[in-house]
Symmetry: C2
Subunit: 323 residues, 2 copies
């Protein structure tokens, strides 16, 4: 059983990550693809997933594949109903891929998968109530209560990224405006820098050289690297994204009063560059903060791999339930 | 047992309502007092409560009193830790009043009490997941999951009114700015009218006469009465408060995905004047609304009496547990 090959696939707004994951959550091998986008034929997305899974499998038989999708997954875990950054709109994805790959496939929201990894093996193990926030292209979220995931009436609980934080604010891929993820996410980090690179305010910053006249050349990893080197513009971007993270978390803590806040996703790999301003802003924005315990904000135990680890656990669960 | 006298007391930011309540939730008699305010000696508040309870009891022995307080109540249900509109700051209120009155006393947050009434006897009976919003002086809230109230780590879950909806927005009694209750509550309704009464935009509206040069004369009930008569300014106030109600609910539905939304409190007695704009705004502000069921917004089964009914149930539970 333990040598059976289980693969987790994290399907984000910009990239697909497939990984072989051990039962204890160790990532043993990975494959990467770009996400084809949200206005393409869905076959292109399925092809990208197939390539990534095939590369990880490297000819070995696959016992199960878990998919972590950046979108709304139906309560049965069979379809992605809607995804701001992906082309799915309720197609029978699970059935299609399971039959194409000839193996068991499980599907859930990426944030729920990340939360599953944290609950079973990571930062939220043994915790009664927690909120889990994934900062990737957008914001993913999950709620844990009594050690269980809160799924919601439509299986859509945890879509924190589309709570309005600025009336009439920035337009969002979801069709609304002022959504939290427009101010705190990987996209928000890059947008902050692109809007300010090569301006007088940040003249001479290291990112100017990278942009070389084209702000669109700026990427998330480049901002993170520049921030780690102390670049003023990159640090300001993390300060902004981190502060907005804290403001949103303060609202969620007011509503839900959890024991723990876990932050994961690509942006969270920057650690305290993100979490220090988030903690300061949470303290400053939380109602009754002198009369309560402010929950700690901790980084995910799995970093950017929480999604694939959780997806692999989902596939292992499915297989265990069927055998 | 059923003829034992149980009294519920709702302690809001502006008024105290005490009521004798039957086991089935019928209000049999009431007494009203003004809330002394938040910068007074707490004895003044306790005196007001004592007067109201004494008036309802009218010389009969009291089996139990339940208190519904507009503030943060500790997890043990013994102290109000913090209340934006009341002077309590962690004093042993339950012990003080129980010993002063010589009867059993139970204490909880007013929104939790209202939710208890709705869950046991009202609009949320038999519902698995619901959000309950009380629009009084501010916003009270409660979450129901699996038919049970979600209390939170510090017993403070459901403080929806202090989620920030406008960055750098209106100052709130809680010390923060831009809190939801500054835009959707009884206070917000009155503030909207006071800021616009006797201006050119609303020249000749019925409320001009009432204000007679002093906008501070405008009260919530006056606005509700004027709106029912079709007054343009009063209707605009309900449109604004209702729309903000919908925006905030859309965020909470994105986060929690509940089956039902129940709106109570004094402002909700206006019915569709409040709920129609709230429903429109919820539809317009909810992420993925074409791919999900939008939960219905219903008025509380108890109107402004949900707090006292729930408080009386709390006292009955306490007595049942002890006997």
């Amino acid at each position: 059983m333990s040598q059976d090959l289980f693969i987790g696939v994290d399907i984000g707004g910009t990239k697909v990550l497939a990984a072989e994951v051990s039962p204890s959550g160790e990532v043993l091998g990975t494959a990467h693809r770009s996400t084809p986008g949200r206005r393409v034929e869905l076959e292109l997305v399925e092809d990208a997933l197939t390539e990534a899974v095939t590369e990880v499998a490297a000819g070995r038989p696959v016992a199960g594949v878990g998919l972590a999708a950046a979108g709304f997954v139906d309560a049965a875990g069979e379809r992605v109903m809607f995804a701001p950054h992906l082309p799915w709109r309720g197609e029978p994805t699970l059935t299609r891929l399971s039959s194409r790959w000839g193996t068991r496939v499980a599907l859930d929201n990426d944030a729920n998968c990340a939360a599953l990894a944290e609950i079973e093996l990571g930062a939220a193990r043994g915790v009664d109530s927690a909120l889990l926030i994934t900062l990737g292209t957008g914001i993913g979220g999950a709620m844990v209560l009594g050690g269980q995931m809160v799924r919601g009436r439509n299986g859509m609980a945890g879509e924190f990224g589309h709570m309005q934080v600025v009336p009439g604010g920035l337009p969002c891929e979801c069709g609304l405006t002022g959504c939290w993820e427009q101010y705190s996410s990987g996209n928000a980090l890059v947008a902050f820098v692109r809007a300010r690179v090569e301006t007088e305010e940040y003249a001479g910053c290291a990112l100017d050289e990278l942009a070389a006249g084209d702000p669109l050349k700026i990427t998330g990893p480049a901002v993170t690297a520049a921030a780690a080197d102390g670049d003023a513009l990159a640090l300001a971007a993390y300060e902004s994204v981190g502060s907005w993270l804290g403001v949103g978390l303060a609202g969620l803590v007011a509503a839900f009063d959890p024991e723990l806040l876990v932050v994961g996703g690509g942006v969270s790999t920057a650690g305290d560059l993100l979490l220090a301003p988030a903690r300061a802003s949470l303290e400053a924005s939380l109602v009754g903060r002198l009369h309560r315990e402010v929950p700690p904000i901790v980084a995910t135990g799995f970093g950017a791999e929480a999604g694939v680890v959780g997806a692999s656990l989902l596939a292992r669960r499915l297989t265990a339930a069927e055998s």
